[in-house]
């Protein structure tokens, strides 16, 4: 068996194969497809958080020219699966509305303008009900139950390590903190949308949608529309960002698909930004009440965490957001630290807010911020340097495989090393001296750290519970390879990274590998993209498929060159005999032979060059890690926070394409800055969402995000290729680092950040309060 000696492409900064179409404005996103006779849908959405629907009058709407149908639940009586919490969302509200933005009726017309005009003419009579908006009150079913037949608290679970109480009580020091993360959301620049095309001849339905899991979407549509799965074809074209929200299954997709089927016409819906902020999966929205026990050295001995998570009005099928958030945050609560004991209690409630689902990192950002704040609080209480306390608690190289108190097993990483490297990059000792001086001058500069651990390539994630991925590889007679994959990229560059892995196996140019994805007619069944699984699981499948095809090419070459298989090398488009490069045949000739000159094949070899490989990594997950270090300056007059410097030392195992990895990190840090300082979905006491445009829900701009320095450490995983997932780590770590930096900057005022995002008014208030107190004292 020949070996891949020097990977030519794996690990290289290969520029992306998908970019040519994107840069020319030729890429096609869902809204760019046009079919003659397409009808468009506009939804009437609830403007109440909680109300009984007394009547819906659609007469006037139906009279608008161009309107083909106006549907309420009675016309489209489909409800999303209600497992496991016995609460399923009707695709159009049934009898009662439970959050602002919930679809109540759908207008199907010959243009979006007409459909929108008709929406205005639908008359709904509501009988208002008290809205459940406060999660603590919701726990006690106050002011009422969101779903009459179910208590608001739909999930309660605990996990306590043996000996927790003793460890906690016998510790010399204790502290308590309550953390609050407000609601946020992924905000893909392309809103959600879909287009359904019926085929009257075959009875098949083709659905175009920006989605992270093509097969997941197909399965759910088939089930709800009661069609056999092969009769539904999902095509995911170019997708303008996913970040978790596009992994979910939404009611609008059902209405559009059903309308196409029943009206026999192509039907399209493209959400606008307000719809996206109202009804895309929301995220975070949790309270963590934490108690910490520690010793004189700052070693943390036990942590108690009581989580209250608010999942909104319904649970997304397969991914009730609050449960995902709380599970991840608490399972990863001890992060990179050797904390032996935890006591965890999780309570999740329904409320009259939009359903919570995944957003990049899920509970990871909360868990990481809590974990780092614990360390910083202990350092502050003991008057120690936060770095020193980190060093005292970090899991060391000798501890792997490390069993966390929450039952996770960490594969080797570089926790301490990444921290030390990040500190060196900013010259930490010097920073502390400068900081003193700046403070003396009235400048409040702070440094925050987040040493993170990122679980990736999990058997289960928001992309579903498919623990493997598949790759179909076909080398055409021309020698060009087509690879079909089941992942659902939304900007991560799979066409390039998978091509790199495959090209190296086959000794061909990366440009000679064409990666197809997103079309369930050509892609092998897969879980899709989510939970940072594509690189490790999909990449592993790409390598395995490449290996299988390489074996066949090698056999064929050995036969044609009359050499032993183990002496055959595949490189630079050729198969040759090791040490005798002149004895060679081009891969192109091999391919042509395999299809069209089959008399020359060795006995028993099947013609053609086509393989399928499935790959499931050995562990339940593999853990990336790293350290984020943020330096911020806080203007205590205005409350404005400026990020002055940002350093990332990242370890995601073997790098397939450092350029793409760095791009993911940059983007995650930007989102983390948004999470920490800007982004907040605000509901008022009546359950009205008050942040329904990008003028209220603020996203970081080029002026908010600093220049970043990124370095890599590579501690391989046990997975094929040594790859670890890394799509979420940067958003997991960045909010905690920024929050810690703000706390550090404002330490002279006794400020310690526990609520995100940090509002400027809050900073001003803290500083004022401290000053007033100082004067009074």
């Amino acid at each position: 068996m020949s070996e891949v000696l020097k990977p030519q492409f794996t690990g290289a900064r290969v520029t992306r194969l998908e970019d040519a179409r994107l840069l020319r404005g030729q890429a096609r996103y869902v809204d760019d497809f046009e079919y003659p006779g397409t009808l468009e849908v506009a939804f009437l959405r609830s403007n109440r958080a909680a109300a009984r629907i007394q009547s819906v009058d659609v007469t006037e709407a139906l009279a608008v020219p161009g309107v083909k149908a106006v549907w309420t639940f009675a016309d489209c009586p489909i409800t999303l699966p209600d497992r496991p919490f016995q609460v399923g969302q009707p695709v159009l509200a049934r009898d009662e509305v439970r959050f602002v933005g919930e679809p109540v009726a759908a207008v199907i017309a010959d243009s979006r303008y007409r459909a929108e005009d008709a929406v205005e003419k639908i008359r709904v009579q509501y009988e208002p009900l008290p809205a459940v908006v406060d999660s603590r009150a919701a726990l006690a079913d106050q002011p009422r139950r969101v779903h009459e037949h179910r208590p608001n608290r739909f999930l309660h679970k605990t996990h306590v390590t043996d000996g927790f109480n003793e460890a906690f009580q016998s510790a010399p020091h204790h502290l308590e903190l309550t953390f609050r993360w407000n609601r946020q959301t992924g905000v893909t620049m392309e809103t959600r949308g879909c287009l359904a095309l019926p085929d009257p001849v075959s009875g098949r339905l083709t659905v175009y949608a920006g989605h992270q899991s093509p097969h997941g979407l197909r399965g759910m549509l088939a089930r709800l529309l009661k069609l056999p799965e092969h009769q539904v074809r999902v095509v995911v074209p170019e997708v303008g960002g996913g970040f978790g929200i596009k992994a979910m299954f939404y009611p609008e997709y059902v209405v559009v698909a059903e309308a196409a089927r029943r009206l026999g016409r192509p039907v399209k819906w493209i959400g606008d930004r307000m719809e996206s902020l109202l009804a895309d999966a929301h995220a975070r929205d949790a309270i963590h009440e934490v108690a910490v026990a520690y010793d004189d050295e700052g070693r943390i001995l036990a942590v108690r965490d009581h989580v209250i998570g608010d999942t909104g009005a319904y649970a997304f099928p397969g991914f009730p957001g609050a449960v995902g958030e709380a599970n991840w945050a608490t399972e990863m609560l001890t992060g990179p630290y050797k904390i032996p004991h935890v006591s965890i209690e999780i309570e999740c409630v329904f409320s009259n807010k939009a359903p919570l689902g995944p957003y990049r990192g899920v509970g990871g950002p909360i868990g990481a911020q809590v974990q780092e704040a614990i360390v910083d609080a202990v350092a502050r209480a003991l008057g120690k340097d936060p770095v020193e306390v980190r060093r005292a608690n970090l899991i060391g190289p000798e501890d792997f495989p490390y069993h966390t108190p929450t039952g996770k097993v960490y594969d080797p990483g570089s926790y301490g090393e990444s921290l030390e490297r990040a500190l060196a990059l900013v010259d930490y000792e010097r920073f502390r001296k400068d900081q003193e001086q700046w403070r003396a001058q009235g400048r409040y500069v702070g440094l925050g750290l987040c040493v993170f651990v990122e679980p990736s390539a999990m058997a289960e994630s928001e992309a579903g519970s498919i623990p493997y991925e598949a790759v179909t590889l076909r080398m055409e007679p021309s020698g060009v390879v087509t690879a079909a994959v089941g992942t659902g990229p939304t900007g991560q560059g799979h066409e390039t990274t998978f091509a790199q892995l495959i090209a190296d196996q086959l000794g061909i140019d990366v440009k000679d590998v064409v990666v197809l994805h997103g079309d369930t007619d050509s892609a092998p069944f897969g879980g899709g993209t989510g939970g940072s699984r594509s690189g490790t699981i999909g990449g592993g499948a790409a390598i395995r498929a490449g290996q299988a095809l390489r074996r066949k090419l090698t056999q064929l070459a050995a036969h044609l060159l009359e050499a032993a298989e183990e002496d055959i090398r595949l490189e630079a488009g050729k198969a040759f005999v090791a040490g005798v490069p002149a004895r060679s045949i081009t891969i192109r000739d091999l391919a042509r032979t395999a299809y069209t000159d089959v008399a020359r094949l060795p006995e028993g070899m099947q013609p053609g060059l086509e393989v399928v490989a499935r790959y499931q990594p050995p562990g339940a997950a593999t853990y990336s890690n790293g350290t984020h270090l943020a330096v911020v300056e806080v203007d205590v007059e205005t409350g404005f926070v400026k990020v002055l410097d940002y350093v990332v030392v990242n370890d995601c195992g073997v790098l397939v394409n450092p350029m793409i990895v760095e791009g993911q990190i940059h983007g995650g840090v930007a989102q983390g800055i948004g999470s920490a300082l800007l982004e907040e979905l605000r509901y008022d006491e009546n359950g009205q969402l008050t942040t329904t445009s990008l003028m209220d829900y603020l996203l970081p701009t080029a002026e908010d995000v600093p220049r970043m320095r990124v370095e890599h450490i590579q501690t391989p995983s046990a997975s094929e290729g040594g790859i670890k997932g890394m799509g979420e780590g940067s958003l997991i770590a960045a909010p905690g680092a920024i929050a810690a930096a703000v706390s550090d900057a404002l330490a002279p005022f006794g400020v310690f950040v526990t609520e995100l995002p940090i509002r400027p008014q809050q900073i001003v208030a803290w500083v004022q309060a401290a000053k007033t107190e100082a004067q009074a004292g």
Partner: protein, 171 residues
């Protein structure tokens, strides 16, 4: 209403409803779907095009306002099958991921470099602050604009030298 607009060097005539926004006219009537829509509040810049050489958010300009004027979209950047230096710089610097903001970013960057061929990092960040990218963290976009600025000034330098050389030989 009848309008006549020069788009990417070619005149188009069209009958539009007065409420039609330029972005939709480009996308739906002209099928130039490179111009994207990301919001309804002039906040994201995905729809940025050039109107008489100035960057505008085409989601807030009416198609009729473009009557008799010149529009350039992302589809007009390429020349004779050659990517514009901004496009190739975005490619080399990995300044795009999902690509949804990219056409708007390219057009905003184009206008920026027209006005200021040699911007500082701060000037680039400020100049692009009306364009949101959710994927890249702007790091590589800034780098790409700097790279393009160098390429473009290098090219005009070359062009100048060429002129100088030709001038000399004509003597």
């Amino acid at each position: 209403m009848k309008i006549r607009v020069k788009v990417n060097g070619r005149w188009y005539e069209s009958d539009v409803e007065p409420r039609t926004l330029l972005a939709y006219w480009l996308r739906e009537d002209l099928k130039l779907t490179g111009t994207h829509i990301g919001c309804d509040t002039t906040s994201c810049g995905a729809c940025t095009v050039l109107l008489d050489g100035k960057a505008v958010k085409s989601c807030t300009v009416l198609a009729v306002q473009a009557n008799g004027r010149e529009v350039m979209t992302v589809e007009g950047l390429e020349r004779n099958g050659q990517l514009h230096p901004l496009q190739s710089a975005f490619w080399e610097c990995h300044a795009l991921q999902c690509g949804y903001c990219t056409p708007g970013m390219l057009m905003a960057s184009y206008a920026l470099l027209q006005e200021n061929p040699n911007p500082t990092e701060e000037e680039i960040r400020e100049g692009l602050s009306g364009n949101i990218c959710r994927c890249t963290g702007y790091m590589n976009i800034v780098k790409a604009v700097q790279t393009a600025a160098r390429k473009m000034s290098g090219e005009s330098q070359e062009a100048l030298e060429e002129v100088a050389a030709n001038g000399a030989s004509a003597d």
